[in-house]
Structure formats: C-alpha cells, structure tokens
C-alpha cells in the first residue's frame, strides 16, 4: 500500500511517556505502519545564538541547561573545547573527577531509560523499581556536587568540587549496590516472558541501515557496530582505564536494552578504577578570559551516543560560534527503518528504544509533514492499544 492511500495518525506533541514534546505522523495500513514523518523542533530555544552573546564563562552555565539529563557531558565537551583553544592542560585529579561524574551520569541516564522502557510496554513495576534504584545514584551525585540535576561540576580549567575520602567510600558502597541491581535487570530483560514478548524481534535496525543513517551510541552498538568515542578517539584518561565496549547482535529492542545494561557494569568498573587511580593535587587552573583566535572540535561519548562541539574564537571574550551536534539528532532518523511494517501498538516502545532526548536535539528544525487522509485519535486510544 502506498503512502497516499494510508491513514495517518498524529502522535504528539504532548506525550506522557517522553516528557518532552515531539510530533510524529504515522501512516497506517490497518494496524501496520507504512511510513512515519518526523517533525521535531518544539524544544528549539535558540541557544546557539545566545551562546555568541555571552562570555565563555557565562556560556558554561547556559550549556548546562541545554539538557537536564546529560548536563555534565555537555559542559565536559564545551570546557574541553575551550581548554584546547586556550592550550591549557587541566590537573590530573580534575580529569578523573570529570570522568567519574560523566560515568555516574551514564548510570542515572540508563537507569532512567530502563524505567521508561518498562513503562512503555505497560510493565509499571519495572518503571517504579528502576527509578527507585536510580535514586541511589541521584543521592550520591547530590552528595558530591550539591545538586540533583545540574551538577555544575565542570568549569573551564578544571572542576569546582572535590571528591573527598569519605565521599569516595560512600561512592564505592553505592556502586556496589547498583551493580547487584543491574545484574537483576539484565535477568529481567533477557528472561521475563512479558518483556521478551514485546522486545524480541521488534524494532529491527540492521547494520546496513544503521551505517546508512549514521547512527551512534547504544542504538548503533545494539546493531553490532563498534562505535564508542571513549575507545575510538579517547579523551581525558579513558586510555589508561580497562573497560570493554559492549555490542549485541540481535538488532532488536532487546539488543539495545542489553547493550545499555551491560554498559552500566562497565561504567561502575570505570568509576572504581578512577577512584583508585585518582592522584592528589589541584582541582583547577586559571584560564584567561580572552581566548586566542582559532577553531576546534571536541567530541565525547554521551549516554546516548557521540556528542560533538565545534567552538570558534575570534580572539575576544565571547565565542564567535559554538555548534553542537547531539546524538539524538543522528538517532532520530533511525525511527524510519525501525518503524516500517511494525504494529502501531509497538510504536511507543520503539520510539523510546533509541532513548530520544529532544531538548538536546531541537536546536535545529527539520522535515515537514504532508497531509493525506487524516484520522485523529487521542492519547488514551494509543495507550489502550498498548496495554493489550
């Protein structure tokens, strides 16, 4: 059936599961998805322009507010890029602290995803349990940084707070606890029949498609592609640390879930090594307000994939241009091949399986929707489909 003869159903922009607004137009033949139009841009605020009007130091605070979930990886990349331009080397201890915070962020972000995935397949117990365990990470982050959401740890030239000995001990205890829970979730996602029925074999993304659409992060690793910036182009101290890059080859939603969960075990491994290897020393160095002329890029592995910062300086205290490319912008296109020929009821979990984060993505607007025959259904209808 061609796109023109199909029914189309709008999904969004207000959707209870994804927190953020986005708009998907699904073309249907009966219950089967023929095609999907993606319309993003509800979260566009104009941050890149605003960054040009503020000084480098002020920008750091605005950059933290691009995304509340992965705030630390944004500042890590931005500070990394500015430090590269200013040619300063930050203290060793600061590098390890940055890594610890980045990995803790991955822990909380992936646990959040586990919960959302459970919610999307109508398994609320998983949602509640995963978010309860996530609070362990939030607690320890709050103890270290003073904040639950925007940690404000990275600054240009180093970090702002130390991890003292007593906090390091608490951190050790917390990640031991988390480790045990992660093994439990791996069990749940690979053995529980309710979950397997929804996740195994749905939302297939082949390796060829993944390469064609330049997919990054856990979504690509779930299709068996090796791509981890921590390994491919290491930054900070990742080269001295022993950890594995996780891939899984079943290509479906289960594959992505397993990749994310196993990655968490690697994250706790990294945190433990960092805590042991962390030398004593200063936390930050002074970086001059005026950054010398030049341009640079810095990329890092965010919880959702590769994040890239391009910073250009014209020799003043304000950047001439900051360009940000976040993982969801790359991954959102993978929804097209994933959703084709799937059931409408599977749509929420497939969309959630790429772990989309629109506040990161929507600094650019793209794609238009064409109207065919339209039939409007509301959220309750879609939800009622989902629970069956």
């Amino acid at each position: 059936m061609s796109r023109e003869d199909s029914y189309s159903i709008p999904l969004g922009p207000q959707h209870p599961a994804l927190i953020e607004p986005e708009y998907l137009k699904v073309h249907l033949d009966g219950e089967t998805i023929v095609d999907v139009d993606i319309n993003i841009g509800f979260m566009h605020r104009g941050i890149e322009k605003a960054l040009q009007q503020r000084t480098y130091m002020h920008d750091r605070f605005l950059i933290e507010k691009i995304c509340g979930i992965c705030s630390s990886i944004h500042t890590l990349s931005y500070c990394g890029a500015v430090e590269k331009l200013a040619e300063v080397d930050i203290p060793e201890r600061a590098k390890y602290i940055r890594m610890i915070i980045a990995e803790l962020e991955r822990l909380h972000s992936h646990l959040l995803w586990v919960g959302i995935a459970g919610y999307e397949i109508g398994f609320d117990t998983v949602f509640q349990l995963a978010w309860r365990d996530r609070e362990i990470v939030m607690n320890i982050l709050e103890k270290i940084s003073g904040n639950r959401v925007s940690y404000s740890m990275n600054t240009i030239g180093g970090v702002r707070r130390d991890i003292s000995k007593s906090k390091a001990e608490e951190l050790h205890k917390a990640i031991d606890k988390i480790d045990a829970r992660i093994y439990h979730y791996i069990d749940v996602f690979t053995k529980d029949s309710t979950i397997i029925k929804r996740t195994r074999g749905t939302g297939i993304l082949t390796e060829k498609d993944a390469k064609k659409y330049s997919i990054v992060g856990p979504t690509a690793r779930g299709s068996g592609i090796f791509c981890d910036i921590r390994k491919d182009d290491t930054y900070l101290k990742y080269s001295t640390i022993d950890f594995n890059e996780i891939t899984h080859k079943t290509l479906d939603i289960e594959s992505r879930a397993v990749v994310r969960l196993k990655e968490l075990l690697e994250s706790t491994k990294i945190i433990r090594q960092c805590l042991n290897m962390m030398p004593k020393g200063n936390l930050s160095v002074k970086v001059p307000d005026i950054i010398p002329e030049g341009e640079t890029i810095f990329h890092a592995e965010a919880p959702r994939g590769e994040i890239l910062y391009y910073v250009r300086s014209d020799g003043t205290d304000k950047p001439y241009r900051v360009k940000i490319r976040t993982p969801t912008l790359a991954n959102i296109l993978s929804l097209k091949p994933m959703l084709k020929n799937q059931q409408l009821a599977d749509m929420p979990i497939i969309v959630a399986s790429i772990d989309p984060c629109f506040s990161c993505t929507d600094r650019v607007t793209l794609l238009d929707t064409k109207t065919g025959r339209t039939k409007t259904v509301d959220e309750t209808y879609l939800k009622s489909l989902k629970r069956q």
């Binding site: 566009h44 941050i47 507010k65 509640q128 978010w131 309860r132 925007s150």
Partner: protein, 163 residues
C-alpha cells in the same frame, strides 16, 4: 428547600471523592528537561506523589491539575493554550521551574517568547532550577487546597443557577 439540601449533600460527597483523586498532567513548553525528570521522580517510590491519589494522565480532558515546565516558545504557544482550554473546569495550573516563571536562564534566546503566565493563567509558582521533588510536592499540595476552594465556588454557582 429539599432540592437544595439534596444538591449540597451530593456536592459534598462528590467533592470529598474528587479531592482524594486529582489527576495531573505534565506539559513541557520548551525546557531543559531538568524539571521534567524531577516531576517523574515525584511519581516514583521515594517521593511517591500517588499517596495523594494523584495519577499522571496523558489526556488533558481527563486531568484536573496541569504542571507546566519551561518557557514558552513560538512552536509550543498554541499547543499550551489548546491543552489549557481542553481541561475541564475547575482547573489548577502549576508552573515548575524558574524558566517558566521569568524565562530564567533562557533570557535573551530568540525563540523564547515569554514565561507561562503570558499565555495561560497560572495559580502556583514553584521556583528553583530545578526545584527539589519536595518543593514540587509542596506546590502540588498547595494547588490541591486551591482546587478545593475552586470546586466549592463552582458548586455555589451551580446552586444559584439551579434555584
């Protein structure tokens, strides 16, 4: 006389039940997501907002309390207005986070047209960037009190109309 007494009794029983089961809805009008995840955290075992009988709903036509995060952008403006209009009376609007109160950190971004109360009437403001879950719960409970008053007012109006 009897008619109005009956009406009052019915309203009392209904209101008692409604106060114990308000349905909330979250709309994100261009935020950083920070407040959004704190609202979801409120639903989970540690903070457990469900003990007030609240359930998060996806449909504006079913919800009584609207939680809005973030400042309004050109693209979300109409949506926010629409969602507000679709909610049944009486309703309470709670803004969570400083960027919905005064644009906050997004001051000067070209696509941000203003705080929430520029588009829809707001009852309660919860400041913070993001506010802690405890603060959010406090705001929602205050919203409940307000909602109770609004329910009573509505009943009074109905009664006058009826007699």
């Amino acid at each position: 006389m009897l008619k109005s007494q009956l009406f009052r009794l019915k309203a009392k029983v209904l209101n008692h039940a409604r106060i114990k089961s308000p349905w909330i809805m979250h709309f994100d009008a261009t935020s950083c997501n920070g407040c959004g995840i704190e609202i979801i955290a409120c639903l989970t075992p540690k903070y457990d907002i469900e003990r007030f009988g609240m359930v998060e709903k996806g449909n504006p036509r079913h919800s009584d309390i609207l939680l809005v995060t973030g400042a309004v952008s050109h693209k979300t403006k109409d949506r926010l207005r629409l969602i507000y209009d679709q909610m049944p009376e009486p309703k309470v609007v709670i803004v969570i986070g400083v960027c919905g109160i005064s644009k906050g950190i997004y001051q000067g971004c070209y696509n941000i047209i203003g705080p929430i109360d520029k588009v829809i009437p707001v009852d309660i403001y919860v400041p913070g960037c993001p506010p802690r879950p405890q603060a959010i719960i406090d705001g929602i409970v205050k919203g409940l009190d307000l909602w109770k008053d609004k329910l009573k007012e509505e009943d009074k109006r109905k009664e006058e109309y009826m007699l």
